[in-house]
């Protein structure tokens, strides 16, 4: 079976997963209490108006027709209109993507850059102070609730030390880069960095800790395998064995785990955005939940699921590239 075929197969599986997500969401909406029309119009709306809206929105149709309408809409990218603001949900999702993406990427970069070397050092110098500190750090990292960590960072670094701003960010990455391109001024970019530093650390800490642990234990497992002894017997430089052979093989399962943990990252983003008043998808999701704004909520969750599936297929693609055996068996 070729790699292309394998990936097509994974794509179809992914579509199946998305269909499942959409169906569950639709089911939840169907059983959720409260009349949508009332939610849309507010408590005081007249009976006639409510009937009118029900008719217009197809709420009087049988459930399977509503479902078919909904899925059909999704297929052409129609996520419906927000009950609360009556805006196009697709737009409301898209306009919030950059902020969340910036945050997620920044956190991932923080995590990778710190965690992998830390894990390698920890695994290759077992039972040294470096190993103990890395272990302690990762223990604290996976045990600290990130909203609380965010608050503590604001308190200590923002309020007491005054190193970072604590309010809502004045500028996004896109506009900042545009300004840089147009005027050559980097001040907006530095502002952006200033504002994203604490949220990125907050969101990234859990992942840094997780990857450090995975790298350490994966590396220790891998170092115990017979091929390592065989490779050392060839007389290769020790660091070559450690990086080219062992680290590489360690990273393969780690990347898979990270793909599966993307959900945790998104959950973390929801919290982090709330703590830092960060204008991303997560914050919008909380607003939608508070307002019981189903179309908006569904739109955001479907978007997250799409991202999850896409990233996991990408992980498989990387997988089949570095380790053809595992992917194709």
């Amino acid at each position: 079976m070729s790699i292309a075929k394998f990936l097509t197969k994974r794509l179809l599986q992914g579509i199946f997963v998305l269909w499942g997500v959409v169906t569950i969401l639709f089911g939840l909406r169907a059983v959720s209490p409260g009349d949508p029309a009332t939610l849309m119009l507010g408590e005081g709306a007249s009976r006639e108006l409510i009937q009118q809206v029900r008719e217009a929105e197809g709420l009087n149709d049988p459930v399977y027709i509503q479902y078919a309408d909904y899925v059909q809409g999704l297929l052409v990218g129609d996520l419906g209109y927000s009950w609360r603001s009556e805006r196009d949900v697709a737009l409301m999702v898209i306009e919030r993507i950059p902020a969340t993406l910036e945050l997620a990427l920044a956190a991932t970069v923080v995590a990778m850059v710190i965690a992998i070397p830390l894990g390698v050092i920890s695994a290759t110098r077992r039972d040294t102070p470096a190993d103990y500190s890395a272990t302690l750090f990762s223990l604290l990292g996976i045990s600290t609730p990130n909203f609380w960590l965010g608050l503590m960072l604001i308190l200590v670094l923002g309020v007491w030390a005054g190193l970072f701003p604590t309010g809502r960010r004045p500028v996004g990455l896109g506009p900042a880069v545009l300004t840089l391109a147009e005027t050559g001024s980097i001040s907006e970019l530095t502002t952006w960095i200033h504002y994203i530093a604490l949220p990125a650390v907050t969101l990234g800490t859990y992942f840094t800790a997780l990857i450090t642990r995975l790298t350490r234990s994966g590396m220790i497992d891998e170092l115990g395998k017979p091929y390592v002894t065989a490779t050392e017997a060839k007389g290769l430089p020790e660091l070559l064995v450690r990086y080219k052979h062992v680290l590489r093989n360690t990273m393969i399962p780690i990347v898979t785990v990270l793909g599966l943990q993307l959900g945790t990252l998104m959950g973390g983003a929801v919290i982090t955005e709330t703590v830092f008043n960060w204008p991303g998808l997560g914050q919008r999701l909380i607003d939608a939940l508070d307002a019981r704004d189903w179309p908006l909520m569904q739109g955001i969750i479907v978007f997250i699921a799409v991202a999850f599936v896409a990233i996991n297929i990408a992980v498989d693609a990387v997988y089949s590239y570095v380790d053809p055996e595992v992917a194709l068996e």
């Binding site: 998305l18 609730p145 308190l155 945790t264 929801v270 999850f308």
Partner: protein, 339 residues
């Protein structure tokens, strides 16, 4: 069911390193806090406001909390600093932070443990059966698991709570109940029932069971080709009995390790939901942090104390999880077999 070798591994790694001891010590403290909260508490954790030196209630009875804010323009008068009366100060509505810390431990532990037990009850049987029989059953389960994984746990939890409401369950406090017969030192006025966030617990189980199903499936899948399982089949042992006598006991180790880690995950999930205001009980560490957020600059203890509570509990649980994993993982003792 637990063999001598596992016991000796457990005790060996316990005595050899500091971290498991630390974990057990922390967790014992937290559990004691939780159980004896009514005895250790100095105030009713739910009673707002406080009494001034002359014994007069402050703010004056009948004045609502909001009114108090609008009159004075600030709320700092309600959240008072740590003192002899309030060991760790009070929160923004004048509730005793120390007492709420103790009661918060109850909610965290109960949600964590109940959630994991429910997830075990759903995930393990499904996973074992799917892995052992394979085929269609397995396909259906694994596709479902894929769908579940595509939802971020927190987001799914929020959506479910949005649908089903928060439905707190009031559980009578056994310590207070016992105290009503034998005086064991519970101060007057302690609540006789504590609210457990019902939906949160069920939702925690719903978003967690997949991981148990996956690991149980993997174990069953590898165990079914073990020769002792084949041997059991060869003399006609029914499948049910093979699952119960061979497959389950031999999958227990990784499931226990996962269960421990998931207790920590669920405690963090509950705290996050409570922080976002979806918990259904205000007697929760996460909720307290949210309350302390607004006065972070001036009254940091309101948010700091419950945060430390969460952190310590989760550290304790994770340390025990690490200890179990290191001691129970059969791969670990390979070092002595190479010779």
């Amino acid at each position: 069911m637990i063999s001598e070798r596992i016991k000796s591994n457990l005790s060996e790694s316990f005595t050899e390193s500091l971290l498991p001891k630390l974990g057990v010590a922390i967790l014992i403290c937290i559990v004691l806090f939780a159980i004896f909260a009514p005895i250790l508490a100095t105030h009713d954790p739910t009673r707002t406001g406080y009494y001034d030196d002359s014994g007069q209630p402050y703010p004056p009875t009948g004045t609502s909390y909001e009114t108090q804010i609008s009159q004075d323009g600030e709320i700092t008068e309600v959240a008072i600093e740590p003192s002899d009366e309030h060991l760790l100060g009070t929160n923004t509505v004048g509730q005793d932070v120390y007492s709420r810390f103790l009661y918060g431990a109850r909610v965290s532990l109960v949600v964590g443990i109940l959630g994991v037990l429910m997830a075990l009850a759903i995930g393990v049987p499904l996973g074992l059966v799917a892995g052992y029989y394979g085929g269609r059953v397995d396909d259906v389960l694994m596709r479902n698991a894929d769908v579940m994984l595509a939802f971020p746990a927190l987001v799914l939890a929020l959506a479910l709570i949005g649908v089903f409401g928060e439905s707190p369950v009031f559980v009578p406090d056994p310590i207070v109940y016992v105290d009503s017969f034998l005086d064991i030192g519970v101060a007057d006025g302690m609540p006789t029932a504590i609210p457990i966030p019902g939906t949160v617990t069920i939702v925690a189980a719903l978003v967690t069971w997949v991981w148990f199903a996956r690991i149980a499936r993997g174990e069953a899948l590898s165990l079914r080709s073990e020769e002792y399982v084949k041997a059991a089949k060869s003399f006609g042992t029914p499948d049910r009995s093979i699952l119960w006598r061979h497959v389950l006991p031999n999958s227990v180790t990784p499931i226990i390790v996962l269960a421990t880690i998931q207790v920590a995950v669920i405690i963090l999930l509950e705290a996050s939901l409570a922080y976002l205001g979806f918990s259904g009980t205000t007697l929760s560490w996460g909720y307290e942090i949210e309350r302390g957020q607004d006065v972070l600059r001036t009254r940091p203890w309101v948010a700091v104390v419950p945060g430390i509570g969460i952190m310590l509990t989760v550290i304790g649980v994770n340390l025990i999880g690490d200890w179990l994993r290191d001691a129970l993982d059969p791969n670990v003792d390979n070092s002595t077999r190479g010779a």
